[in-house]
Amino acid sequence: MTDIAAGSERIRSRGLSLMPLVMVALSLGAYAVAAATTDQAGQISLDGLIGVLQRSVALGIVALGQTLVILVSSIDLSVATLVSVAAVMASWLMQGDDRMMLPASALVLALAAAFGTVNGLLITKLRVNALIATLGTGLILQGILSASFNDFAGSVPVAYQLLAYGTIGPFPFSVLFLFALAALGWFTLRRTRYGAHVYATGGNLEGARLAGIKTGRVIVIAHVLCSIAAAMTGLYLASRLRSGAPWVGRDGVYDLESIAVVVIGGTVLAGGRGGVWGTVAGVILFGCLDAIFTMAGVDAFLKQVLRGIIVVAAVAAYAFRGREWVA
């Protein structure tokens, strides 16, 4: 009995793990076709591909954090704000000073962890709907940030820009970091006790609680890790832009896009099913789409329309066979 259940579980998870590869293959195929048909065959190269990946790093890091939060059946709409806060804080604290690189980064990450804890506690202790809780904390944080800064603040030292511009061979640090983080996420989710608790909590909150899992703690930790991921994106953007401005997060629409990418990657919004490789595939899909739009010379506003439609269509592709009622 248990063997059969375990066996079918394994088959299902194997079936799921192929999906990201298929999606990446399709994205790259579309990218290649677009490059060939717009006479930009030069883009079909390792460099072109790395360029696509590099432009997806910021979204990718946020989306990995969002994956974890969505897996525990929560959601985080405050990530875009946190990206801005991290970028501004980092460059403001550093003021171009080499010695401040580590303390500033550490402080920003600690602040993000504290912020994630607040999000998590609002959701688990005060039982505020996650959507509203993180929307509210995001509004509060953005308000304070925009009231304190209204332009690029400070700057990061040249050494810090290595984070965004450094390479090992042909591979930028940032792209390698994204994949390392994804591997760490995969390991945590599939090979550690915390990972098992994440799936249990997201799959059936009450069941997990009755089984002795401290579900509140699992959810709070997920929010802390998600906030830290968003702050990492902020640090990366500060390094890439050489300074932080209070609108970098909002301009990147990281809240919406991270959720979209996670869902496109096959993680279920209701929680409990999915994983990091799907998210990585979703990020690559978005990166390729962006590149395709750029190569095809699609107008920026039309691009926004298409993106909106693609997000909905992609979610629909997963959802419409489902039997659950959604609202």
């Binding site: 609002l122 005060l126 039982r127 505020v128 709907n129 959507l131 509203i132 809780a133 929307l135 509210g136 904390t137 995001g138 509004l139 509060i140 944080l141 953005q142 308000g143 304070i144 940030l145 925009s146 009231a147 919406l256 959720i259 979209a260 869902v263 919004l269 107008d299 920026a300 506003f301 039309l302 691009k303 926004q304 329309v305 298409l306 993106r307 909106g308 439609i309 997000v311 909905v312 979610v315 629909a316 959802a319 419409f320 489902g322 659950e324 009622w325 959604v326 609202a327």
Partner: protein, 324 residues
């Protein structure tokens, strides 16, 4: 068993607990404003307050239907922007076109609401994603149509809904057209929600969609209608806002969240099953009063957003605490 446990709590809440807390909040807020600037107690001041709050109150009562059936409509802000920018482009300084353009805008609203509703009910995309996608697309359409910057003007006969007023009336002295529109829309929506079968079905669907479906309720139709009502209310609010602030690319910015906040302040339950139109309207005016107050206190706009976030969390935390 459960009734026995719940009984004392219900009794303790009593009569006062049954009064919608947003009414108390609204009165308190108005009292503070009156204390700072007594002019709001004069007919002109109060009417101007009502007029300022009218677009939010209209769009919040539409949003309420979507919240009651268990969803969110995040596309209303961009639909308001599209209404303002599209009207200016279509009218093209010819006041004779105003009426059919208003009709066309309601047509666009109808289509937007239908698309939202169909995507949620038939493609089973959660409404938060579906309407976020709609938000992006509709805003993109508005910007692509106008080339990214505000184009054209709205003629006087379009703007009258937002800024004209009837003068020299007895007692109230003047009555802005926006307030008449507000009263008509709110009365209509309140009747739909609290006086018709459709309203009752909406509550049932939001409370338990599966049970409703098994009991023979046309769940999909009810949900689609809720999205349509929300979209039509957004077009109405767009016409009002175009009247008193003119054409801009961010005419409706932030209204989606404020509308949700207003509905929740007015006692609506997120994910469905409970809500009232008068409550949502009162919530909308509470928010308007709050913004007025923060403005009077000289707080910069970003901090007003921060306070809005705080209120939002507090309102939901309060209502969660009191419903179980």
């Amino acid at each position: 068993m459960t009734t026995a446990v719940r009984e004392p709590a219900a009794r303790r809440v009593g009569l006062i607990g049954r009064i919608n807390p947003s009414y108390v909040a609204l009165l308190a807020m108005l009292a503070v404003i009156a204390w700072i600037t007594p002019s709001i107690l004069e007919p002109a001041g109060f009417m101007s307050f009502l007029r300022r709050g009218a677009p939010l109150a209209v769009v919040a009562s539409g949003q309420l239907f979507v919240i009651v059936v268990g969803g969110f409509d995040l596309s209303v802000g961009s639909l308001m922007t599209l209404t303002v920018m599209g009207s200016a482009l279509l009218i093209n300084n010819d006041p004779d076109k105003t009426w059919w353009v208003i009709g066309a805008m309601y047509g666009i609203g109808l289509v937007a609401g239908l698309v939202n509703g169909l995507v949620v009910t038939y493609l089973k995309v959660p409404s938060i994603i579906a309407t976020l996608g709609a938000l992006l697309s509709i805003k993109g359409i508005a910007l692509a149509w106008s080339g990214g910057s505000p184009q054209g003007y709205l003629p006087e006969n379009f703007r009258q809904f937002g800024r004209m007023a009837l003068h020299d009336l007895p007692v109230i002295d003047l009555l802005p057209l926006a307030v008449i529109v507000l009263v008509v829309v709110v009365a209509l929506f309140a009747w739909l929600m609290h006086g018709t079968n459709f309203g009752r079905l909406a509550l049932v669907v939001g409370d338990n969609a599966r049970a409703a479906a098994l009991a023979g309720v046309p769940v999909r139709l009810v949900r689609i209608l809720a999205f349509v009502l929300s979209a039509l209310s957004a077009v109405t609010a767009g016409i009002l806002i175009g009247g008193f602030s003119g054409v801009s690319t961010d005419a409706g910015e932030g209204f989606e969240l404020q509308a949700i906040a207003a509905a929740v302040l007015g006692g609506a339950q997120l994910l469905g099953g409970r809500g009232s139109v008068p409550g949502a309207v009162s919530g909308a005016f509470t928010l308007t009063a709050l913004f007025t107050l923060l403005n009077l206190l000289g707080l910069p706009k970003p901090l007003r957003d921060a306070v809005q976030g705080l209120i939002l969390i507090a309102a939901v935390a309060y209502s969660t605490r009191h419903q179980t």
